[in-house]
């Protein structure tokens, strides 16, 4: 393992210190409570958005804290959900009296810890609504699994719901649009190599040079199956088939597309893949009205990518375009 770290046990704490040093004035990092929040939190009368999850997915979630998106983020250990104390502390720190929305990716640990925190917050008089993100269509949504995973759509949920909260949306409205964005989203991911957690020190799985993992998540776990590497245009078609089968779009529908690198994929390849996505969706009469290409929901140094397609309403596009000022996403502000 070669990484720019000191002690593997200190990675998360030391990265938090770096975030605090890099964004003075915009972000406040509570090292005791282990959360990142807007420097101007709490905003009186504004619905607050809190998210969190294991570390290793940067810029998600800490990089999306700021005006127009999240009010706070709770980073857990690498690939491990945060603990209830952290989430409760962040929730109380940003509550402006209008309620708090928890954006939770659908993983067993994240769901349990956020649920415990929401119950503790309710005991202290803070109203919490939870938006569960489960967009990864590689997993069957059945009683035989823990349900679909939350992946790339988390960014869209946080951006669009965050914009509505910023312009004064009520708790129920902010939660509702977050859920609508999730329902309208489907994602699919491939990995060329596994990522290496600082604690384990070696890749989560080994892949022969000519094979890929198909349907991976963002925690270094193996995917649904292994296949031989194929040209990008074939992989894109397979991924879009899976996404559009689970989340159908009709001729003339408008979508936002996210082509997301998992941490170790050059932008050159991400743009090549976006070009293929644009070609396939154009053939099907689907209009891409907005798009994002880059590394936003990563899995440490995994070489791989995910494709997210979200069918959007005019209102969602308006909220997507609203100003946002965070370390990881910034426009119009």
């Amino acid at each position: 393992m070669k990484k720019f770290i000191n002690d593997p046990n200190d990675v998360v704490a030391e990265a938090l210190a770096g975030i605090a040093a890099a964004h003075p004035g915009d972000l406040r990092v509570d090292t005791a409570g282990q959360y990142i929040c807007r420097a101007d939190a709490p905003r009186s009368g504004k619905v607050a958005l809190v998210s969190g999850g294991g570390s290793g997915h940067e810029p998600l979630h800490g990089g999306f804290v700021g005006p127009g998106m999240l009010d706070a983020a709770c980073p857990g250990e690498v690939f491990t959900s945060p603990v209830p104390d952290q989430i409760l502390a962040a929730t109380k720190a940003v509550d402006g009296g209008a309620g708090v929305v928890h954006v939770v990716k659908n993983y067993t640990g994240d769901v349990m810890n956020f649920q415990m925190a929401a119950e503790l917050a309710a005991d202290e008089g803070v109203t919490v609504e939870t938006v569960l993100v489960d967009d990864d269509v590689a997993v069957e949504n059945s009683t035989w699994t823990a349900g679909r995973r939350g992946t790339g759509a988390t960014l869209l949920v946080e951006k669009i719901a965050g914009a509505l909260a910023e312009e004064g949306g009520k708790l129920a409205e902010v939660a509702a649009i977050g859920r609508e964005v999730n329902t309208a989203s489907g994602s699919f991911a491939y990995a060329l190599t596994a990522g290496t957690t600082p604690a384990a020190g070696r890749p989560g799985f080994d892949l022969p040079d000519d094979e890929i993992e198909v349907g991976v998540g963002i925690h270094g776990e193996p995917g649904r199956r292994r296949e031989k590497l194929r040209p990008a245009r074939d992989l894109v078609r397979s991924a879009l088939d899976a996404i559009l089968e689970a989340k159908p779009v009709a001729d003339g529908d408008q979508v936002i597309v996210l082509v997301n690198g998992l941490g170790g994929t050059p932008l050159l390849e991400l743009y090549l893949v976006y070009g293929e996505v644009a070609t396939v969706l154009a053939e099907r009469g689907v209009r891409i009205v907005r798009r994002l290409v880059g590394n936003y929901v990563t899995s440490l140094d995994m070489a791989g990518l995910s494709i997210t397609v979200t069918r959007v309403t005019d209102e969602m596009v308006r909220l997507w375009d609203a100003p946002v000022r965070t370390p990881g996403l910034r426009w119009g502000a």
Binding site: V83, P84, T108, W144, G220, R224
Partner: protein, 211 residues
Amino acid sequence: MPDVDVALATAWLRAAADAVTADADLLTRLDSAIGDGDHGANLRRGFTAVVAVLDGSEFAGVGDVFVRAGATLISKVGGASGPLYGSALRAIGKALPPGESADLADLARALRAGLDAVSKLGGAAPGDKTIVDAYGPAVAAFEDAVAGGAALPEAAAGAARAAGDGARATTPLTARKGRASYLGERSAGHQDPGATSTWLLFQALADVTAP
């Protein structure tokens, strides 16, 4: 001498901490195959924190030991294993009678309450390839031994054997809960890390009670 007292409870939890520390690499290896490879590190971090709490606390009742240990796991571990093991220990502690000691029937009931807490929180049934597949047989064996008049060492040894059998029996199963469930049929052929750590915890009880 009472069967279950503060000294036994703390000895068990210290032995559990030693066990998950000694076998952290095994748990991580099992978790790397079908999960994300952090089970060993997470439990080691959690039980190290539990030992620190034990070192710095006086306990009025035997149940308090488990309640404090459970709360510590919930606060320190994260993931699914923190809430699951933390809730189990809290439920065990709350089910024990107030006071410095309890008898074997009390402990059997408390262990059952811990299993119920895990099942309720995680929603797992037997055969889903989870903690429940080791914990369920261990509690049943413990209850049977106590009902048959066994002393603590014998009941604990039986529970540890049943947990080990249960953990090994998860190998051919397809996971239906937790992160391993994302792999579908690819999860078969690997022993479940959660069931394995549960086995280590029951083995720790057997070790500290062995004559």
